[in-house]
Symmetry: D2
Subunit: 402 residues, 4 copies
């Protein structure tokens, strides 16, 4: 029984069903049960190359049909929106084809593995936009309620003039030198390492929260573990931990383990970034800090229901960082969830992403972040790589203010 | 399309669709998408008194049918398990009838509004048990992964001999004297106030984590705000905040705002409890601390993905409370979820509750906590009320070791 | 060279030179170097029974002379103020004699080991007060800047009407069953265990911060480790850890390891307390929480430079517990110390205590807490013991409002 | 009365008596009262230009004599050790002269305002070293017990191979554009701004904790507030807050408000730094994180009694950052202080610095950090400035491994 008979259906087809596919499925499955929506998402079909695997995934995750060829999926009549959850090397081809097929597109981040691909995607999205199709990139952390609140507060001027943006995104699953060589550790599939995986989020959040682009960066990156055990076919973070590769066989890691860079925002504020997958003890530590003349904000994804705010206009005798539990009905997305103090989890960002995209489709106006946002991030990542190769020299971001 | 064709169906019928009903629905909807289950839960029907309301709720929450009479619901052939999400005053009648109708039962906490009702429910459950039916009470916080890990560590002896159990459960939604008189503030519907609502969780967790019952208690309770605005029909925490009562009309609050009590566990360990709904700034602060001769554990529901452990066997120069992020695949329930550091939320406790209940039904062996656990809690709550009435004198718990 | 030639001298004589004596010495030595004082404290003489020990202590701690008989010390012409740092069993005798000898008195907490002694001390202090002498009891934690700020905020009405006071004071140095039987574990010297040692602070702070007395209490206490290794002569917490007792010889512990009690303040607010010296991992965890209708405050002595404030009058979308770093010049005592964020330590409470006492002596008024405050605490501790013996029955505090 | 008659005296003469002078005085006054020392520090004389001011300071801070000419002070017979607490522009001249006069020297950080000065100081120190004189630079934070413990743990190999060092040092006293133009904001007196003031600590700690030097850096720096109110004569952080400058008159700020840089350690580990005096809400937030293959450490000066340790060799199910309260007698410097959990403050770092320097003088072997350490820091700061001027290009540190 559909959860709202009066709302027209919006057929969704998803490509890829690993970690991201499972998370997106949870989003599509839940969104209409929690939020009032103008369209009713229907989980029409999922696509994967392995016939057995995709069929099982469809049954498990709740998709009505399974496809093994993404070209078939994007042509289905019961699919109006294509959700791309594959590794970055296939994003451009699929997204451009899906747009050409007249579908709306949601594409996982990073938008692409190169600026060139991202530019082609933006061009395709612009053309499709004129035909009424939408294209969104999956920077889901924007929709963590605490970060949505942060953006709202910055936009309201609560921080005054921004002085510093500081983002670190640290994980530790690559500390173990025997963690296997999954697709995330190969340049040809992942584009880059911690940079594209974690840095893409970090850069997007910095630009989004600040409300302005990076003008340039100075960077270094490093690969500490140069070779890792070979592994066939598997993907995902946990999957790899099982390490069922043949003993002894190792292959070269062709992406970075960590990257660090600093830059300037268009307004002159200072920005600093560090991303790593070898920071022991840091599991998913996306930490954001913004310092402005009127106040500061801090956030840690490991405590995602909290936003800390320092109000610099307060009496110094009573001022202090305030731990806001972002679980009030006055907070973004929270009117639909539980009472105060009953926190949400990681996967809820995908529910919120689905909610906003459905509204955008219904209203015919562009979802944020769009492919241009994705391209902007891609250009920063490219500048980071370029700077890292050129002795860390400050490298302007093409298209950004000087 | 069912998510697993090979697993036999388990039809679920739910009574009540407010806050708890929404949370349970999320549990039933999600559980089979995440966990491998021996039975496939089907959301057959939901029941509520208001025909329009229940129909809308069914559509929204994903139940296949709507009923307005719970007696009809428990008789449905497509319902094998009755999930009771109503206020406490109707638990006994519904649960006993559902068991008599041959159904498994999941009953929200507190089990009942009185020891007598709880005893009758236990008796019904015992009889039904012999017919192969199961009865579970919804102390969902046991299934917070961090608290499940805490229980595992206590059971493994990591704390040594227990000295202290300390539980406080603080909220603040009743600080506002104009918060309306919902069912939760009337003795005839809720049984008691903070005591039954929050204290039931606190007592169950203390006994569950310690692995032993309370022997007796000394208590006081208080109602700070004696009258509140009248309100028609609404329930739930957030609902009431809207306060659409006629101005001026007030009615008496007949339950406690707060209660505090201390007691002894059967082993001689000291236990202390405090519950309140008028603790400004505390949103859902269920804080647990266990101190043993070999170690200590602390937990705060406002940071539900974390468990803090002090290992007293370590070198003092390196000892300290350790913030365990309970998001590893080695942690309870986590093998099915996201990578490390990607936290879960409040509602996941209901997914885990559903998971364990489905396994229990399939295996025909009793789910924990059962109605006896619920009765044990009820007896403690009754002793708390008795002690509070009798000048806080130490009041033994009937059925517990002296 | 005296640090202020123009300020008249105030000769101080101290009795006892163990842990407390060292801390008080640090206070007397430092106070005039940091604060502007109307009198110039001079560390005239220290007293202890062991001639070698006290002489070494005088040299080490900076006292000009050493005495072995406290009666000699209180008669010295260069002593105007007697600072009593001995175990509780000698407080009454020394304080009364010192007052009779015309001296001002600072007496370590707890004021005495019994209500009777405390009453006699109050009587002596009253008589001395008419002769212009002052008597203060050493509840030094009142002078932690964060708690002084807390008191100021309560007095200013920032919390509104108080609902809850919650104090726990947990340590763990008695978890080890082989920690020796120091004077702190014998009723004849210490009066009680965790209760007098930690509970005295907890009760004084609760009454001081709330600005009102406890009306009555319901209590239990427990001794988990009944016998401990015998030890000769030593005192202090760390001293005992060395355990140089003859192997095998054990003696009975005659005080409590832990106590828990709840009560009501005169205004009807609820109060709860727990003190323990067997809470593994808790080193000096004096945690205070106050909840009022307009706001809440929390404090943890293990992070003594911080006070957390929840302002319930704020917009819920931005409300949260605020971590005030109590290191601003606008904070109590801080105008004399370091720049913001440069925290103080435990011993500074003794500097502040000395500062306020010197001012009181110069101005001939105050000081707080006086012996009446000490008696008030003693009466609560006695009621706690009485309640614990009488099945936890609610026991009114003599002299408090019903 | 000297606190230890048998220990030979070590006469100390201090130059400068503002913030740093007060902190050093507290160190010299306290050290012999707490620690067993081979020499007995005597506070012989203090020096400042203002005759009234220095006389008052001598009285207040406890120095036996006052001088107005530092050349006179370093010639005094009762001064064997010269403690330099002036702004950086006079360090070189005074230190070199004091060493030439045969004195031991303790010089506040940064060692100098330029590499050239620092090199001259190192040369003077080397020559003096052959005559048995010692020279130390005042990187006092090395002697925070938690950071001393951190260094010990790194040296013991508890972190394995280092991957990341991350240091941020944030304050906010310059957010206010009307904070006056004190000496700390002028290049001619302070050398640089946040960089020399905060960055010097950050760099020294990174190199000290890692046990290896930085090889090179890439940097940017910024001055957000270009002009500030003029002020006569005052110094210090709090002093300036009073702002008694004539209204309207402003002068140019010639130092940086903030700097950010990343680099590589000799071993190849990545290092990142950020320092700012305009980070609203950050009072004295010196945060350090070290990630190695076997574990990680984190520290925040705003909670200076705590060190957090993640032991990567532990069972993942029980692993987590451990909050070590660095107050155990097994911790560096703590055997002389209070019982566990009784924290120290900022000023104790100066007591510990004095302790170690007195031992070094007595034993005739070099104190750490010596002037070479100071020079090493100075070279990094110079490379930071050079890189910031040259488009952030990676700039090797002279004398460091490539």
């Amino acid at each position: 029984m559909p959860y709202d008979n009066s709302a027209p259906a919006l057929g969704v087809g998803m490509i890829g069903y690993a970690f991201m596919g499972a998370a997106h499925s949870q989003g599509w499955r839940t969104v209409g049960r929690v939020f009032d929506l103008p369209l009713s998402p229907v989980m029409s079909a999922v696509c994967g190359r392995d016939p057995e695997g995709v069929k099982a995934a469809a049954g498990r995750l709740g998709w009505a049909a399974a496809e093994t060829d993404w070209r078939a999926l994007i042509e289905r009549d019961d699919v109006q929106l294509v959700d791309i959850c594959t590794p970055g090397d296939s994003h451009a081809e699929i997204a451009i084809a899906a747009l050409a097929a007249g579908k709306h597109v949601l594409c996982e981040k990073p938008l692409a593995n190169s600026v060139e691909e991202a530019e082609a995607m933006v061009e395709a999205a612009r053309a499709a936009r004129e035909r009424g199709q939408l294209a969104m990139v999956g920077f889901n952390y924007r929709r963590t309620p605490a970060l949505a609140l942060a953006r709202r507060m910055v936009a309201e001027g609560r921080l005054g003039t921004l002085r510093h943006v500081r983002v670190t995104y640290l994980q530790d699953w690559l500390v173990d030198p025997d963690f296997p060589l999954t697709w995330r550790l190969r340049k040809e599939t992942a584009g880059s390492g911690a940079l594209g995986d974690l840095g893409a989020h970090a850069v997007d959040l910095a630009q989004h929260l600040a409300g302005e682009p990076l003008a340039g960066v100075s960077a270094q990156s490093v690969t500490f573990v140069g070779e890792r055990p070979l592994l066939d076919g598997q993907s995902g973070v946990r999957a790899g931990a099982r390490n069922d590769a043949p003993s002894g066989a190792r292959g070269p890691v062709t992406v970075d383990d960590a990257a660090v860079f600093h830059g300037r925002l268009a307004s002159g504020a200072m920005a600093s970034f560090e991303v790593s997958r070898v920071a022991a003890g840091r599991k998913n530590a996306l930490c954001v800090e913004l310092n402005g003349t009127l106040g500061s904000l801090t956030f840690d994804l490991e405590r995602l229901n909290e936003l800390n705010f320092y109000d610099n206009t307060q009496d110094p005798a009573e001022a202090g960082f305030r731990r806001i539990q972002v679980t009030e009905s006055a907070h973004p997305y929270l009117e639909a969830w539980w009472p105060p103090g009953h926190g949400l989890g990681y996967e809820h960002t995908f529910v919120h992403q689905a909610r906003d995209l459905v509204h955008a489709v219904a209203e015919g106006k562009g979802p944020q972040p769009d492919f241009e946002d994705g391209l902007r991030v891609q250009r920063v990542l490219a500048a980071v790589e370029e700077s890292a190769e050129k002795n860390s020299v400050y490298t302007p971001i093409p298209g950004s203010p000087a």
